[in-house]
């Protein structure tokens, strides 16, 4: 690609003095409260959420429900449905930018998965992968780079400062294409549950993206059921039983609890305990007033449980330095009997690593009146560069293709590749081949251009799938949503990382005994001062507007 010096960047380089100096009089007049005002939904005409038109599809072995319980499939559907009719693309180049958690993809010439996707879509997909650790920096430079944007830009849930303003200013408004009944032109997008759209949220009242749906549970307690059974630990437990179990499972270089470092960059470590003891999911709202969970007595009780775990020595000693991958290894080999992990780890890859050593299960909440926390319901969303209506519809058809649900031909291609090359089918269902390890939708992250509503399907492990389904039925009906999900707060977007770190540092200090429990007051005060109270106010305004 040839990026000559365009006029805009020249101006920016040369005109710092000239243009810059005239700016303050214009902009500082906006005052301090001005930033983010444009992206707020307060006082705006709200575009309607897309109409939900569920896909018929194959019959699951156990149904899902509105509380977030996923449909359970013990077998792969024998007959697949076609969900996309008519051509998607027009043979043109489509540039996309997506995050990646793996090695770079093989180039399209050698990549049969990529070729198959291009054929099916009728476009020439040009993919820029952004490695996850550098995602924030790359997006910052993308935003600084002027008008030369990719056709499709994928955003994760990571709060990127000014991302909403950027999307509002530079990316297409999709409201007229997907708002209300208009979405029916794209049946697979219409099949996305409304909570996913809400989880993404509007910007300035408008819909600017397509959500990437994820199951409802937030990070959860993964447990070694075999070890628990051996120690006589019941499935449903009280706080005392939980504490006793963790102590009982500790000893002989084994530990009950496996925490890792990044759990303490925010609420990650406390999620399960706070949900067990009835603390609100991050925020609670009464009327339009927002209260943060860290100010509640239930939250302090959860901290107390964590402190007791450390006091009893029931945690892996290097919990504050261990990486998640190391701790997962410790869990998979039985060194630790439980681990907090994202719900996405309910997967074939986890089961392969456990390799039959023990039965995998999820821990039920232990308190008398639990409020298990829900996740945001989305992993992120896809936005489009501004273009004419025909082009936007083409891009929407690409999202529609990748959002095709389980049991369709499109889902099979997008998720497993080409039969006979990337996978084979036998009685147990899909069997990935060696080629799949090199070419799949994680390495070429097409799964971030559109995602089907997730189902529970673990080929070869029907027992685990059933256990997880039971856990969902027991847990999700009582689960609570974070009322701030999808609401805009410019302070949260700008200072979220710092605010979360204050909370994470505070949790670690008290849990590991560097500070007494009474010091939690100071942590809350520090959080308020650093912007917590401001976030609460902004959320309240947003909430009132969205009601």
């Amino acid at each position: 690609m040839d990026h000559r010096m365009d006029r805009r960047s020249l101006l920016r380089l040369a005109g710092v003095g000239a243009l810059g100096l005239t700016a303050p009089s214009l902009l500082s007049a906006c005052g301090s409260g001005g930033a983010g005002g444009g992206v707020s939904n307060a006082g705006k005409d709200l575009a309607p959420w897309p109409t939900h038109v569920p896909f018929g599809g194959p019959t699951p072995d156990a149904p899902g429900d509105g509380t977030g319980v996923q449909p359970l499939f013990l077998n792969y559907p024998e007959k697949l449905v076609k969900s996309v009719h008519g051509p998607v693309g027009d043979g043109s180049d489509v540039t996309v930018m997506v995050v990646s958690y793996g090695a770079p993809p093989k180039p399209v010439e050698d990549n049969r998965y990529w070729q198959a996707v291009n054929r099916a879509l009728g476009v020439n997909l040009k993919v820029t992968v952004v490695p996850d650790p550098e995602y924030g920096q790359k997006m910052a430079t993308l935003m600084a780079s002027g008008d030369d944007l990719p056709d499709m830009i994928m955003f994760t849930n990571l709060a990127l400062p000014h991302a909403a303003e950027f999307v509002q200013a530079r990316c297409a408004d999709l409201s007229e294409f997907v708002g209300g009944d208009a979405v029916k032109e794209f049946p697979n997008l219409a099949n996305l549950p409304t909570y996913a759209w809400k989880g993404m949220g509007r910007i300035g009242g408008r819909i600017h993206g397509i959500p990437l749906e994820r199951p409802m549970p937030a990070n959860s307690l993964f447990v070694n059921r075999s070890a628990m059974d051996a120690a006589g630990v019941p499935r449903d437990w009280t706080t005392e039983q939980y504490l006793d179990a963790m102590k009982a499972l500790t000893g002989d270089r084994k530990w009950g609890v496996g925490w890792f470092k990044t759990l303490f960059t925010g609420l990650g470590g406390v999620t399960y305990h706070a949900g067990s003891l009835g603390a609100p999911n991050t925020w609670s709202v009464q009327g339009d007033a927002f209260t943060h969970t860290i100010t509640t007595p239930q939250f302090e009780q959860a901290l107390e449980v964590m402190r007791k775990l450390v006091e009893a020595g029931a945690h892996y000693p290097d919990s504050l330095t261990a990486s998640s991958t190391d701790m997962q290894s410790h869990f998979h080999n039985g060194t630790v009997a439980s681990i907090n992990d994202g719900f996405g780890s309910v997967s074939l890859s986890t089961l392969n690593k456990i390799n039959g050593r023990f039965a995998l299960d999820l821990g039920r909440p232990y308190g008398p009146q639990p409020t298990p926390w829900q996740g945001p319901g989305v992993f992120g969303h896809v936005t489009f560069k501004k273009a004419d209506a025909a082009r936007i519809k083409l891009l929407l058809r690409i999202c529609d293709y990748f959002s095709a649900p389980f049991g369709t031909e499109e889902y099979e291609l997008a998720n497993y590749g080409v039969e006979g090359q990337h996978f084979t089918k036998d009685s147990g269902g899909i069997k990935p081949t060696d080629l799949y390890a090199q070419e799949n939708n994680s390495l070429l992250p097409t799964k971030y251009l559109g995602a089907a509503p997730a189902v529970l399907y673990l080929p070869g492990h029907p027992d685990v799938a059933r256990a997880v389904h039971e856990w969902q039925q027991a847990t999700l009906p009582r689960s609570v949503r974070n009322p701030a999900t999808g609401l805009r707060s410019s302070t949260e977007a700008g200072k979220g990382a710092q605010l979360n770190q204050i909370i994470g540092d505070g949790i670690a200090a008290i849990t590991f005994g560097r500070k007494p429990p009474s010091a939690w007051r100071d942590v809350v005060a520090q959080w308020r001062q650093a912007g917590g109270d401001q976030v609460a106010e902004e959320l309240a305004r947003e909430h009132a507007a969205n009601r």
Binding site: P317, D318, L320, Q501, R514
Partner: protein
């Protein structure tokens, strides 16, 4: 004899008659006289002008509420707000305190370590042995901090090798990792392990230029190893040591980022927050490039003061330092 040569080169320039003439001539004549040298310097200078001074407008971000997609011209000017926020923030000063502490430990324990190792290596007579040891000690430089921190945890952590042995012996474990009191020594030990070998390279190059005859003369005088090191080797490479020391002082506050980012949580911000991690959490992670630029400016100014002072002191001691005033 060569020792005095090295020293005289460091203190006084060689007297060249042709150049004195040029000195007295007008600027145009001097420009012409030096045109070959200036041409030699040109590519490097152009590089600094384009990629450093061209990007130096980034400094103005320190006075802005910079938003990338609005650019410098579109972002709001905030005057000294970032600096006010910085100096009135107790967390900033806590980070400065931790940084100074670790920087001082680094200076005292890390700076001389490669010199000592280089002297040791230099005194090994067998070439093969020396090459082998050199190659081995360079390797840790190529490991990323993620790996180094993981290896230290593997060895010294609560569930690590050493504590495993201790508990097998029935002795209680020692808490090294995660112990705030030992954090400073721990991070310096990690730095020594990772970079000490690599940092010997410059010293070895300097040592390779010390005149062999000097040693022989000293040895004939009956000087032992220590005396030779003290009276011959160290004075000969003193200009290099001083140079590196002055440069290090200029970057005194830059003690590294990744190493501290990875381990800050193990001891909490009270001990583990250093300037660069502070900037990361309060500035960069929040996309607050203006604040990050302000702290960068602060570090630069401190560096200017330190380099200036160190250079002055070096001159007093008869050394060349980094530049001559």
């Amino acid at each position: 004899m060569s020792m005095t040569r090295v020293r005289s080169a460091a203190t006084g320039p060689p007297g060249v008659p042709a150049r004195h003439e040029a000195d007295r001539a007008g600027p145009l004549r001097r420009l012409r006289a030096d045109r070959v040298l200036l041409l030699l310097a040109a590519p490097g200078l152009v590089y600094f002008l384009v990629f450093h001074y061209g990007a130096l407008f980034g400094t103005v971000l320190a006075f802005q509420d910079y938003v990338p997609f609005l650019g410098v011209s579109g972002s709001r000017w905030v005057g000294l707000a970032h600096f006010e926020r910085m100096v009135t923030d107790p967390l900033f000063w806590n980070a400065v305190k931790n940084t100074l502490l670790i920087a001082a430990l680094q200076l005292v324990f890390f700076f001389p370590a490669p010199l000592a190792l280089a002297l040791l290596l230099n005194s090994v007579v067998g070439d093969t042995l020396r090459r082998f040891v050199q190659s081995v000690v360079y390797l840790p430089h190529f490991l990323s901090w993620v790996i180094v921190v993981a290896l230290f945890q593997q060895m010294l952590g609560g569930a690590g090798v050493v504590n495993g042995w201790l508990s097998a012996l029935g002795v209680g474990g020692v808490a090294i990792i995660g112990n705030p009191d030992l954090y400073g020594p721990l991070v310096v030990a990690q730095l020594v392990w990772k970079e000490c070998g690599w940092a010997t390279i410059i010293f070895l190059a300097a040592l390779s230029q010390v005149d062999e005859q000097q040693y022989e003369a000293a040895a004939l005088d009956g000087a032992g190893w220590w005396r030779r090191v003290w009276h011959v080797t160290l004075p000969a490479i003193r200009p290099v040591i001083v140079l590196l020391l002055v440069l290090r002082l200029g970057e005194f506050l830059s003690i590294g980022f990744e190493q501290f980012f990875l381990q800050r949580q193990s001891v909490g911000p009270e001990t583990g927050e250093v300037l660069d991690t502070f900037v990361y959490f309060t500035g960069f992670a929040n996309g607050d490039f203006g604040y990050a630029a302000a702290v960068g400016l602060f570090k630069g100014v401190v560096g200017v003061v330190l380099i200036y002072t160190a250079n002055k002191v070096a001159h007093r001691l008869g050394e060349q330092g980094v530049y001559k005033s």
